[in-house]
Symmetry: C2
Subunit: 362 residues, 2 copies
């Protein structure tokens, strides 16, 4: 029995639930993957206090058996409703109409919720983010996977820097990055690479296009990989196109953003609240007069998703919290700088996973 | 005003709704993209009978203005709740507490539904798949995009066939395919490429791995691209590794699957129900004794998603229905064959979009 499943079963007992239903939803299979190891895109898990079932269709029978050995396979037959097979699993587990069965309200649509209310023979109870809150704190195995993902991603950054030159397009630079991610072991990008050059660098989520890089301009590269096992990396570096000295104000902004990134990292510790972490970088930038140009949060949780779940308002950092540290300054029509690292909170502070030094030298 | 928005406004009037809320959900932005053109991952649309608003945050202000010109931008301020800004948009639109505002119950989670019920100042009405049912039938512009996507994807197949040789791994072959998709214009894969060789070819959704191809074996390649504009392609071909004659039974299976694919294509027409389309290929295979080995549906709708929405049980095919035609035979421990084309239903029959002939010659 895997440790995550065991932990969930303790939570069920604490929450006075007889079981929990966890489902893939429109391509979001992360809770199912996290609990069971099953990497397919269509499945429902039924976890009781003692047993665990995976309900899936013929496309995935073999994969479910192989990847989710702690889960008993319940086979969806062509033409049947999935809810019939949920009832089948409940009956195999010895549950009855009076059993209290939770369902994850954050990943079940209002529509499916209504179908289940009608079809499923149990007392359904909406629960909120039980699995997401387990996913907030990464275990040793997860951190090892994230460390490897970030090591490869940093290597890709180092490989592409020497390729940057005037006349290259954003798309061409993005292609070089994406190919190298795959070549070095990523299954895919963790999100579409953002390559933002010149004035485009003032747009935090710029859509990479065919603009040609010009000498002396900033070029923001924000990218990451999705690796076997399912974990994501996410790095941002701002480079300057060779051939001309960058604008002095860009150099000033670059240095401020880098120092803000370092300042937040230095303060990061167990027990800290998200808002205080954010404030370190925000205050640093505001004190130097650029407060209004830092127009997004300092970062986000990272894991199976590039924006992994985290209850930012309520849950302080713990050992195993993995987040990004990505301050930015964006001046419309002129340009911007963002520098992003992935860091894991440790008992003594923080470990930076994205070791893509050297930073830019002027 | 774009034609899709206009059509939705007619539906609102027919359904006696004053407005509809449409939202991105966990990376699923397809309904928002379809209606507005906005390609970012976080936004809520409010469409009234006369007006349209897009509610998004600072990361996306510039993109929303550029991509969704028919929608008035409502800016989410840092720290505010999105539902406050939905109320702001409703107030700008002249809606009141007694207005009937639909929300798409298939893409709103039970959890968010509860928050909205509490926060939003209107009479909320769950609606089911209004936008999805619009998306079932593709317009000229969408068909042109799908045609181009499939042309490029077919070209990629033709390029990789000569590279297949004994000793190459599934992952290596997948890499060649994925690189070429990107090189020829795809933003990404539309799903992780399935490369299934030898006995793995008997697993319809095999997870591509490091198995080495052997002479004479079948290798199923099931892949597609996601192209600028947002449309997907999806093709499957079964090839045989050179160096040895394929097993006679594999050749027999290949021919049956190919004929089943052609038979379904030939019958495809406006007004046909999904189940009858499926039956053509299923009966063909069953009559030749392999019925129990065709373990999945004949295909699926294709569009912004590789499995695009379609009400298969109720809605007959119309001009603009785009579906896949992918029969398969899978014999555990031995191997399998699948052949998949993307086809659009026309007034006179069907147009095949994936022109990756020649098929395998023995």
């Amino acid at each position: 029995m895997n440790a995550r499943l065991k932990k969930l079963q303790q939570i069920l007992s604490k929450e006075k639930l007889d079981a929990l239903l966890v489902r893939t939803f429109e391509g979001d299979n992360h809770n199912v993957l996290y609990l069971s190891g099953f990497s397919g895109t269509t499945a429902v898990l039924l976890v009781t206090r003692k047993k665990a079932y995976i309900i899936t269709d013929a496309r995935y029978f073999a994969r479910a058996k192989e990847e989710a050995p702690d889960f008993k396979l319940v086979k969806v037959q062509r033409g049947n409703k999935v809810s019939d097979h949920i009832n089948e699993a409940m009956s195999l587990a010895g549950l009855s109409k009076s059993s209290k069965v939770g369902f994850e309200a954050g990943t079940i649509s209002v529509h499916v919720g209504k179908v289940w209310d009608k079809d499923i023979k149990a007392k359904l109870v909406p629960t909120v983010h039980i699995i997401e809150r387990m996913r907030q704190f990464k275990d040793e195995d997860e951190i090892a996977q994230l460390r490897k993902a970030c090591r490869i991603t940093s290597k890709v950054y180092k490989e592409v820097v020497p390729l940057i030159k005037p006349g290259m397009t954003e798309n061409e630079l993005g292609f070089e990055i994406d190919m190298r991610l795959r070549k070095h072991g990523a299954i895919n990008n963790s999100f579409p690479s953002i390559i933002a050059s010149g004035p485009n660098s003032a747009v935090p989520h710029h859509a990479t296009g065919d603009r040609k890089l010009k000498a002396g301009e900033p070029v923001i590269m924000d990218f990451g990989g999705l690796f076997p096992g399912g974990y994501c990396s996410d790095i941002t570096r701002t480079a300057f196109v060779p051939g001309k000295k960058p604008h002095p104000k860009m150099v000033e902004i670059y240095k401020i953003v880098l120092e803000a990134n370092k300042a937040a990292l230095k303060e990061l510790s167990v027990g800290m609240m998200w808002r205080d972490y954010d404030k370190v970088a925000r205050d640093y930038i505001a004190d130097l007069g650029y407060g209004e140009y830092f127009i997004h949060g300092l970062g986000h949780s990272l894991g199976l998703l590039v924006h992994d779940p985290y209850n930012y308002e309520k849950d302080p950092f713990e050992v195993g919290t993995v987040i990004t540290d990505e301050p930015g300054i964006y001046i419309e029509g002129f340009g911007g700088v963002r520098i992003e690292d992935d860091v894991v909170v440790t008992a003594t502070g923080a470990e930076v996973l994205t070791k893509a030094a050297p930073y830019w030298q002027f």
